[in-house]
Symmetry: C2
């Protein structure tokens, strides 16, 4: 059985730390608001000790793997992007070693870049994609900046980002629609979702369909509580339509999500007649970290 | 020769007042930040006197026409929407008379509604559309909430709104892209516009192409000064694509714009191979107010 592994998904605003036993079971997990942007210069060894020092004491023999924005220019050390197409071995071999405060070592994973006409990058999602263990398929990772990635022959062939979560937040919190919207009550969520998925298919596009939330509420045809679910379904529907166009003919789709995002993307994918399998982000991250650690140990 | 006319385009945040001679020449014009939202309840007669009292003293015999949000629920009086299709005579006959502080009278114009699958409304733009004097054609009115309207047989047949200007502002000022963007210098505007118009045609859609501004700048392939022009061209390009889909087969296009919007929409319409004629908002408003005043005088 392989040795245990300490793996951190260390993003801009949050960090998640896992102590993973040799058999793949998660023995301990931590989550903290201590994202990369909150760590002062030179403060990463101390931040790591705060996040995962107890995990390290519990398993001093464990290898340590750090994924996400921790490998960016503003992170612990810059691990330059690996260009797609990229196999797990390519990602593992581009990791950069850093020294912990206690004299130990950790491996900082690189992100991926893709130059498919438009340049695009990811950091952290590559580990989740690797964790799915796909030979061929399409992967959807919802989020503030959602990613879709195509896997071919075990390599991440290309990918694309969508500003879905961020544009939803801007429309819901900062646009003229914010003043009309209310928290969903009763069947507002179901009604708004159905209307938004339908509106995503209208020919006028996102800029036209977003404005319709205002006029539908003013006309008394949509409840204020349905505006948020409408906008969410609308932007997710547009993301899926764009991804279908970019990745036409790709194989089976894997959705990596849980909670509300799993529900909203699940409904939108079903409406778009895209069958999918569902994996939680934790399961995908843990499996991906183990796979990349195994590649590094070779 | 008809009598002179005082016409106000009185919107949410701004008011424009014109004293128009009987031959159509604009004798005086005023513009003020005194939009409908800044007028306290019961304060419209005084606000009108502040905006146009001198015009009224200069031409006491002039009829007075008020267009825009001044006719909304939060305006002077609510002039209910006229449903499309709507002829100039339908709009004129739905005007509501209000009493000025000096005992005179003014006519408050209604807006239009359209229920073409999605419900939509406009207030103020109908006057500009009427001013174009079209028998048949398509009209584009750029703005925070841009409008496209189809005119058939001299009537406004249907129309659609696009949140173009507002979404541009949200992306440019409040998204992750705001931190990367800078004021354009040198050929940033031309470069950003060309890249944005090209990106608007990419299959991934708006949510994908907007994010590309970030990665292109991070990769050193786009200047920070080009981000704003890129985003502007991107959303305008998406609006035009949506309008083409909604109004396929419509006749000649009239663009009602001046200044920077005339430039950016002109470039985007040319890129979309949509020939157009250009009219300034002032010319369209003045002609529309005269036409509607003439209908009322019948």
């Amino acid at each position: 059985m392989p040795a245990p592994l300490i793996a951190l998904d260390w993003g801009t605003t949050r960090a998640r730390a896992f102590l993973i036993d040799g058999d793949g079971a998660v023995r301990e997990r931590r989550s903290a608001d201590q994202g990369v942007q909150s760590v002062p210069e030179g403060g990463f060894p101390a931040a790591f000790a705060g996040l995962a020092g107890d995990l390290r004491r519990a398993a001093p023999e464990a290898a340590i793997l750090l994924a996400g924005m921790v490998g960016s220019r503003n992170g612990w050390v810059e691990a330059p992007y690996v260009a797609c197409p990229a196999a797990p071995a390519d990602i593992a071999s581009a990791a950069i070693t850093v020294a912990l405060g206690d004299g130990g070592k950790a491996a900082v994973l690189p992100g991926l870049s893709c130059d498919d006409g438009a340049f695009d990058v990811m950091r952290g999602e590559e580990t989740l994609i690797v964790g799915l263990g796909l030979a061929d398929g399409l992967v959807c990772l919802p989020g503030t900046h959602a990613k879709w990635a195509l896997v071919e022959g075990g390599r991440i062939a290309r990918f694309a980002s969508f500003m879905t979560g961020e544009v939803y937040g801007l429309l819901r919190q900062h646009s003229i629609l914010a003043r009309l919207a209310a928290e969903p009550v009763g069947d507002d969520a179901a009604t708004g979702t159905a209307l938004g998925l339908s509106a995503a298919r209208r020919p006028g596009g996102l800029l036209n369909a977003a404005f319709a939330a205002r006029t539908e509420v003013l006309a008394g045809r949509m409840a204020p509580g349905a505006v948020g679910p409408y906008l969410s379904a609308l932007v997710v529907g547009h993301e899926i339509a764009g991804a279908k166009a970019l990745f036409a003919g790709a194989g089976m789709l894997s959705l990596v999500a849980d909670g509300a995002l799993a529900e909203s993307y699940g409904a939108a994918l079903t409406a778009a007649e895209l069958p999918f399998s569902l994996t939680t982000p934790e399961a995908a991250f843990v499996a991906g970290a183990r796979r990349l650690a195994a590649e590094m140990a070779r």
